[in-house]
Amino acid sequence: MADNTVNLTIDDKAVVAPKGMNLIEAAKLVGIEIPHYCYHPKLCIAGNCRMCLVDVGMPKLGADRKPEIGSDGKMVVMFGPKLVIGCNTTVADGMVVLTKSPKVVKAREGVMEFLLINHPLDCPICDQAGECRLQEFSVDYGKAESRFVEEKVHKPKKTALNAKITLDDERCILCSRCIRFMRDVAGQDCLGFIQRGSHSTLTCYLGNEPKTNYDLNIVDICPVGALTSNDFRFQQRVWFLKQTKSICPNCATGCNTVIWSREDVVYRQTPRDNNDVNQCWMCDYGRINYKFINDPHRLTTPSVKSATLGQRVNLTWPEAIRQVVDKLRAAKRDSLAVIGSARATTEELYLLKKFSPSFAAYIPRVGTGDNFLLNTDRNPNAAGAMLTGFSSDYSVIADGIADGKIKTLIVLGEDAIVPELLAKLELLIVLDILPGKTTEAAHYILPGVTFAEKSGTFINAKNRIQRLNPAIPPLVGTKPEHLILSALLAELGGKRYATIQEVFADMTRDVPALAGLNLSKIGDSGVEVKS
């Protein structure tokens, strides 16, 4: 292995870095930050921002080709006459790098001053404020005062790049990250610079606006507020938002995400780094599809369809559980079926399966995919449903209801069976978050919670088990499904689970593929499951 690594020194720290690594990444290994704008680990190197300038030297070699030792007993280092950029300089054996020398500090101050010359004083209205690299580096490496007294260059502001993104050219620092992302990752070469010098402007050719499913990633990678997402525009300042690590529930890829919430409201979703799943990107379809969390039509009270009153009657939770348990006791076990959603967590599906040994199915959900992140399977947890004993063939249940073999049905978050069939059932219990045809037909509705309000796990298309974390508390009146199901099971004579960990522990015993796992082992980035 020694052949593939090089030894170098960065700010008096010895670094062992793999060959071919650049200085920014090598410095990161020992916890030294080299500030940069245009460099992004997942994009090609442009080297145009000049923020990552560092002092690089090599040991002076004597006539014997050995490093010369100076009078102070230290190796003599010959530094280059000019600074070099850290992003496009690869590590070399014996290299000595200074990231805080006076020359470097001066250069950074200069770069910062140039970048800020034409930058507008938009911070109070800029959505990037609080997570802006220009603000951060200005504090860390810039000067406190501006010497610029001339008129700033004015460029187009508040222009619509496409329906999803607003472009403010005055704020742009011309790092070209978005250009490279759209060309190399999203596969649509649409953005570019026009004009010259300080009049350089980011734009796209008319009719060639970004129209891929990955456009909003350029908002994430934009180091300043030039590109802002219309969905998040002027919604909330980022410093108020709590970040919760989660998983995107919109397809079987299971992109790692961060949910940004304040109090009980989710404001946005952004991708989270995981090289085994989504690198650091996510698709727009998944990113925007979170609005149902704060939907005003959410179900918020358990209710029963009263035969005598002919309408729905709200119940308290203890009363609802008692009535449902009574009805389930009376029902025959072999005429009971369950439909689990493959959008539910593995734990919920595991508990749901316990109600019915014979009939358990999930509803497959297929859409068009691409070869990047969006999977054709739009269920985030189809693998989990199959592992816990659900089949994808739900026509068996539909036929069973038609034949009269199935008289009792528990539905967890799905809306697939036609109402005519549902009307034939003697007992229909529905756990869901939003009203639909199935909840309309339900005898009992038990309101559950969305993915942002619960703990649990999803197993993605590549059999990787990943964890959800609750970002906001359950909506008033609702309960996490695993607690509802375990309350019902406990009343029916099963075990009472107080926490998700207990459910998971039992599940690892019953599902061989999950043996030996626990929630902390899954961690933030997930682990692969034996299939």
């Binding site: 002027f234 410093w239 108020f240």
Partner: protein, 166 residues
Amino acid sequence: MLVQRPKLTFWERLYLPQVLQGLWQTLSHIPRKKFTRQYPEEKPPLYGKYRGAPELVRDPDGRVKCVACQLCEFVCPPKAIRVVPGFRKEGASDASVEKEPSDFIINMNRCIFCGFCEEVCPEEAIFLLRDFSVSGYSREEMQFHKDKLLELGGVREDKIQKWKNK
């Protein structure tokens, strides 16, 4: 601890001189200038840098100066401020500012008149003006909304109008 009681003299034990001394003190105040103010009919004079309730101001052109950056909400120690960010009206004379609060709520029950909001404001849009006795008949009435705050704040004369020529 044992406290030794001082031995009182005859005059002191008699009590009368002390009573007379007190009475003289009272009588001597009668001809002096009156100290009591008939509040609320009579308002106290406020000195120049007096910090009253925080209020929103408009610039000389009548534009709402606040751009809903929410720094005051962030800095407010008793969490009395709540800003609901929104958009400036498309096509209006101040449309170049892009952002304004669609509502701005100060809970005057909570406000401690510390002045942090005024200090942190990058737009000089909120000032602690001279209203010191904010009162209401209910908690709801003590939530001052944007319209009320702007009405109380009035217009602030200042030379720098950052957004005017944007």
